[in-house]
């Protein structure tokens, strides 16, 4: 049995896969923030016999909640040792404000207050030269003075990504002067240029270390006590898993990993389906999320902000705590089933960002909600059945109509046109998220297949696909719990990098690069080995961050040992991505990167051979609205009864306990071997 457990601030989501029966169960229980291991343990024990569980993959927002100031979770007391004259680098950050027009804006509170940020003598220059030596007595004195008052020492000096000698020396002196203390250095957790980002990454790691190591050790111990003999693994925000021991060295790498799981599930299915470009679209109750998978791997960004606020799919820069670790690029917009439609002061119909949430929820839930939501519109348009969640929730069409009527009057249309307008505007908002992870990242959405999941995703997918010029939609099995399933489909992944800063045309650079790659690969192999992954199951991939001389940003290029080859690829990529190249300009290698994958055994999901084209019988029919055809009778099918090989033509609706698929007129759906449903126009 494999268990995925995703702990959020309020709820803990659990997914249990029984490999013998192919049964996948999902559960939701309340989180226990004060003693988090208790809730997790109880949840797991409620779902499975611990001794029969082979693998637990864990994602938790515990660390993020602490940084965001959740009551009962205090960050540890820390001391930042930095260069004299630069103790406010952490507080000033990149000096911008997160919102342009909000005169009452706030920046997040620095994790280390000013009186615990100490500047000391010593300075490394931009080329790694020592401009001023470290004052050892000053370091010893500072360490002794604060020893016992702080739990963690963070050391971050300027230009230490080029030469870490002062940081390692300071670390040694602190350990001597204050034995048993935790010391985190900037160069050990993030050896790249830009002092604020490196310092912030170090501080976030330091803040998390005591809490998360205590929590995970406790959880592991309690699980073992209950008979668990399998492996407890952590989901990281780069979309890979890591062993307990590895994870705890860089806790900032796994504190916001929940959203990565959905993208990962898409990448797994895309690989099996042989789909080179997949666009993940996950629409739930309050938000819609988008992610791109190219060549089997989700797109990754190299930096993110923990706890940042988001506006229209974009992170408000400076609203969270910067962590410079690879992070799966997931864009989120406020458009879920419960998102409210309204009319703005200019008379325009808007959808979101406010959501009716779970309580009172959409008007049709009959729990007192009076504002029209996306779910209400879908119900009125005949897309959503009147009974959902396996019949446990009855949706009230009359209440949905009443809520939409008020909106319709404001914009001067009838109630059905109002409902359709709500769906169209919602689709525009969601299309924005899908465009952000494709066009804005330099990919053409028309070359992608759309993987639609979440409770509401498959209902909106056909129209979104049309908006983006996508011709095929795939609704995977288990769409309602698909994200959690991703936890069980991950491989091990570790990213290593190091600054190089040398010209690609300099003949000595290739050797320098190869040496760094070799060093990083050595670390990679060693890390995987410590997790029990041998060479036969590992895959090591090298890449270089490159830019033109004088340019301030980089492109990531695969590296196979030949620098001239990499430089050629860089210029090609520059042209496809930005539309021009600069022949004759020098190309610089900024960083060398090594990513290590450790392939895990995957759960065996149900499959069966298609039994020729089958034409299943609909269970019922109902009137549904489609933009080009108006109201037409749609055939309704029950998904659990559809076998591989089944063909369904639109207009029709395929219902499941947790998700509804809308097949518009002119579309055909086919059930594949693995029970995923492929929908095509024509």
């Amino acid at each position: 049995m494999r268990v995925g457990v995703d702990v959020g601030g309020t709820f803990t989501d659990l997914v249990v896969f029984n490999e013998d029966s192919g049964d996948l169960r999902a559960l939701k229980v309340l989180s226990t923030p004060k003693e988090p291991w208790r809730g997790v343990l109880a949840a797991i024990m409620g779902a499975a016999e611990p001794s029969r569980v082979t693998i637990i993959v864990h994602a938790t927002t515990l660390g993020a909640n602490m940084l965001l100031g959740q009551a009962g979770l205090e960050p540890p007391s820390m001391l930042l040792l930095t260069n004299k004259g630069f103790r406010d680098v952490l507080e000033i950050g990149r000096q911008n404000r997160p919102e342009l027009y909000n005169l009452f804006f706030e920046k997040p509170k620095p994790l280390i207050p000013r009186e615990r940020r100490v500047g000391v003598r010593g300075r490394i220059g931009p080329r790694g030269e020592i401009i001023e030596g470290l004052d050892k007595d000053e370091i010893r004195e500072t360490a002794r003075k604060w020893c016992g008052h702080v739990k963690v020492f963070v050391v971050s000096f300027l230009n230490s990504h080029v030469n870490p000698v002062h940081e390692t020396e300071a670390e040694r002196l602190i350990r001597e002067a204050c034995p048993g203390s935790i010391v985190v250095t900037g160069s050990s957790v993030d050896p790249q240029e830009k002092e604020y980002e490196r310092t912030s990454t170090a501080v976030v790691n330091a803040a998390l270390k005591p809490l998360l190591s205590r929590y995970l050790e406790r959880l592991h111990l309690d699980l073992k006590r209950e008979g668990f003999r399998g492996s407890l693994l952590l989901m990281q925000s780069n979309g890979g898993i890591a062993s307990l021991g590895q994870a705890i060295e860089r806790p900032a790498a796994f504190i916001e990993s929940g959203p990565a799981a959905g993208a990962l599930a898409v990448s797994y299915f895309a690989r099996i389906h042989g789909v080179a470009r997949a666009l993940g679209f996950d629409m739930g109750g309050t938000t819609a999320k988008a992610s791109s998978i190219v060549g089997g791997e989700p797109l990754v960004v190299d930096e993110y902000e923990v706890g940042a606020r988001i506006h229209m799919g974009r992170v408000l820069r400076g609203s969270g705590y910067t962590v410079r670790y690879p992070h799966i690029d997931v864009v989120e917009v406020s458009a879920g089933g419960g998102t409210i439609a309204w009319v703005d002061p200019g008379g325009s119909l808007r959808v979101g960002p406010v959501s009716a949430g779970a309580d009172p929820g959409p008007a049709c839930y009959g729990r007192g909600g009076e504002k029209p939501t996306i779910t209400d519109a879908n119900l009125v348009l005949g897309r959503l059945p009147e009974k959902i969640a396996g019949g446990s929730i009855r949706l009230r069409r009359d209440l949905a109509l009443r809520a939409l009527k008020a909106l319709a009057e404001k914009i001067g249309v009838d109630v059905f046109e109002a409902a359709w307008s709500v769906v169209r505007v919602a689709n525009t908002v969601m299309a924005r998220a899908l465009k952000l992870v494709t066009f804005e990242r330099g990919h053409d959405a028309r070359e992608f297949k759309l993987y639609a999941f979440g409770g509401a995703g498959p209902m909106h997918a056909a129209e979104l696909a049309e908006e983006l010029g996508i011709s095929e939609i795939i609704v995977p099995p288990y769409p309602g719990v698909f994200s959690s399933l991703g936890l069980l489909l991950a491989d091990y992944r570790h990213d290593f990098y190091k600054a190089v800063e040398a010209s690609a045309t300099d003949p000595s650079t290739e050797e320098k690069v190869n040496k760094v790659i070799e060093e990083l690969s050595g670390k990679a192999v060693e890390t995987l080995r410590s997790e029990g992954i041998g060479m036969e199951r590992s895959r090591i991939v090298a890449a270089l961050d490159m830019r033109y001389e004088g340019q301030s940003h980089t492109l990531k290029v695969a590296y196979n040992g030949s620098l001239s080859e990499a430089a050629r690829r860089f210029e090609e990529l520059h042209e496809t991505r930005y539309g021009y190249r600069l022949p004759g300009e020098d190309v610089i290698v900024v960083n060398a990167r090594v990513t290590a994958f450790g392939v895990t055994g995957k759960p065996r999901l149900p499959r069966s051979k298609p039994a020729g084209p089958l034409h299943p019988r609909p269970s019922s029919r109902r009137e549904a609205f489609f933009p080009r055809d108006g109201w037409v009778p749609a055939l309704v099918y029950e998904r659990p009864k559809l076998r591989p090989g089944s063909l369904v033509t639109g207009p029709s609706i395929i219902e499941d306990s947790d998700s509804t698929i809308v097949i518009p007129p002119g579309h055909t759906a086919r059930v594949a071997e693995d029970y995923s449903i492929w929908v095509r126009r024509g």
Binding site: I92, Q95, R114, E195, S421, V425, G630
Partner: protein
């Protein structure tokens, strides 16, 4: 239900236009060369209808807001008067502030978007080029007339029917200190316009040209209705006339006055700058586009930060600035500092008037300067603006060390600067006691200092609030003003004015202190634990705690 121009279609096109302008911004940033654009994000992108009316703009930095609509309209008029038409595949370029609407560094590029032979829209962007020639590196500093500030590019087709005019690019390169940045950033501007053009053509293909052309005026109407509705909702007590004045400092030390009479009516606002100082023979003049941008910034922030911003908004807001004044100069007055400094004071003076109308919505003065520093030597130039203190708010302290009002650019990391240029940083810290005392304290300014590693490094300071100070409100005290000094390698100290160019030799250090924000409310009412907290953090000194905060 589809095809006609219903409310949902208009909303769909509105979202599409905003998305496209944002995607243009991402494309510009990604392809750009200089830290100024890539890291400081000193650019803006917009979509305008065939009449040059702004319909959508990506919100990057406020000073470009509003100036874009003024700029493209003036450009279209100029081309018409010259008998030039914009053909498919053309890109027109200009940096003439009297057309483009900001200052010479901001280069405006515009491309028409045709679909099936019909003009659907214009796409435009504006990017701050780090050096555009002129007397000093960075192109902002002492100048008595426009041509001394740098190369003036009257509107030219830099791309003609899809072909880049490399002869012109070379001409520009020959006139600036950082030709590689200029070329790279120019290519990025063109790439961004191409992205915008492609996306708009796709949208026209999907929705139809008539739908697009029909939607533009509807978007503009929507913004007007939105703005008027929000103004109508303001409390009755806020209607009437509100007067305010504030000052900028000339290089000779005299004060130039900005005078505003703000009228808040039933559903419109009028800002009248009559009575402001005559234009001057130094770069403090703010062209009309800048005056519009700063006025709009303050109004939007106070009335509704979510207010949509396009031509329709300007129907509800009128801005009168007499010709020949520092808020609407005539050629050839130099304007480099109007964009970066006078703009901040225009925002201050509007906020000061609004503080009378809507006291609970307006903070005390923020530092009121971008603290521009331009450094350069042989073959290199570097530009930065330094954070400062934001004004204390009714109910909360100002923010320490942050960019305020008309700017919001990122700092360039010290490690990046040191790697690229012969300077070594000595400090980058908050400036204790600089925030104006008050029940709510003004945000702290910043101390930033660096040492030259070679001889003949030219530094230009272009800042404000050295002679005046950021004002407090409701009994709050002003923040501390701007200071700058050079410590020579010999130990000799030279004080600098707020606008001055000096030469550093190897070992000389320049120390810049930016102003703090004004305080809000009586300092003696400040909660004791907040005073003690500031003291523990070293954000105020013991002396200040005793003198300003009535503590023993």
């Amino acid at each position: 239900m589809t095809g006609s121009l219903d409310a949902a279609t208009v909303e769909v096109i509105r979202n599409t236009a905003i998305s496209i302008s944002e995607e243009m911004g991402v494309a510009l940033r990604n392809a750009s060369f200089s830290p100024n654009i890539r890291d400081r994000l000193d650019y803006s992108c917009a979509i305008l209808d065939p009449g040059g009316n702004l319909v959508a703009q990506a919100e990057h930095i406020p000073v470009h807001l509003g100036s874009m609509s003024v700029g493209v309209k003036s450009l279209a008029e100029y081309l018409e008067s010259e008998g030039t038409s914009m053909e498919p595949g053309d890109v027109v370029l200009t940096n003439d502030p009297y057309i483009a609407g900001t200052h010479l560094n901001d280069v405006l590029a515009v491309k028409p978007v045709y679909y099936q032979g019909r003009l659907v829209a214009f796409v435009a962007n504006k990017a701050h080029h780090v050096d555009i020639g002129g007397a000093v590196p960075g192109s902002i500093g002492a100048a008595r007339e426009l041509r001394e500030e740098g190369l003036v590019i009257e509107p030219v087709k830099i791309v003609e029917r899809g072909r880049v005019r490399w002869d012109l690019v070379k001409l520009f390169e020959a006139n600036v200190r950082t030709p590689r940045y200029l070329r790279g950033d120019l290519m990025a501007q063109i790439a961004s316009l191409n992205v915008g053009e492609a996306r708009l053509r796709e949208a026209a293909g999907r929705h139809g040209v008539d739908t697009m052309l029909g939607a533009w005026p509807r978007l503009i109407d929507h913004a007007e209705r939105y703005a008027r509705a929000r103004i109508r909702e303001l409390p009755e007590s806020s209607r009437g006339f509100f007067e305010a004045r504030d000052y900028v400092e000339s290089s000779s030390g005299s004060l130039l006055e900005l005078r505003l009479r703000l009228a808040i009516r039933h559903d419109s606002v009028e800002a009248d700058y009559t009575g402001s100082s005559r234009q001057v023979e130094e770069p403090l003049n703010a062209v009309y586009g800048v005056t519009v941008a700063a006025t709009v910034f303050a109004l939007k922030s106070v009335i509704d930060p979510e207010m949509p911003m396009n031509q329709g908004f300007f129907r509800a807001v009128s801005i009168r600035a007499p010709e020949g004044t520092i808020v609407n100069p005539v050629k050839p007055a130099p304007v480099g500092g109007g964009n970066v400094e006078t703009s901040q004071r225009i925002a201050d003076v509007v906020l000061r008037a609004l503080a009378q109308a809507l006291p609970e919505r307006v903070p005390a003065a923020s530092c009121g300067t971008m603290s521009n520093v331009m450094v350069g030597g042989r073959g290199w130039a570097f530009y930065e603006t330094i954070a400062c203190g934001s004004g204390a708010r009714p109910g909360s302290d100002g923010v320490d060390g942050v960019h305020t009002n008309m700017t919001n650019t990122l700092n360039t990391p010290i490690e990046v600067i040191e790697k690229e240029y012969p300077i070594l940083f000595k400090s980058y810290e908050l400036r204790p006691d600089s925030g104006g005392p008050g029940e709510y304290r003004g945000g702290l300014g910043v101390v930033r200092s660096f040492t030259a590693l070679e001889d003949g490094v030219m530094v230009t300071i272009y800042a404000e609030r050295a002679l005046t100070r950021p004002w407090g409100l409701k009994g709050g005290r002003p923040g501390q003003g701007f200071t700058a000094k050079i410590i020579r390698s010999s130990g000799a100290v030279e004080k600098l004015h707020s606008k001055q160019t000096a030469t550093l030799n190897r070992g000389d250090t320049i120390v810049i202190e930016t102003p703090g924000g004004g305080g809000y409310g009586e300092p003696c009412k400040r909660r004791r634990e907040l005073v003690l907290r500031d003291l523990a953090e070293g954000k105020i000194t013991r002396e200040a705690a005793l003198q300003e905060y009535c503590t023993q």
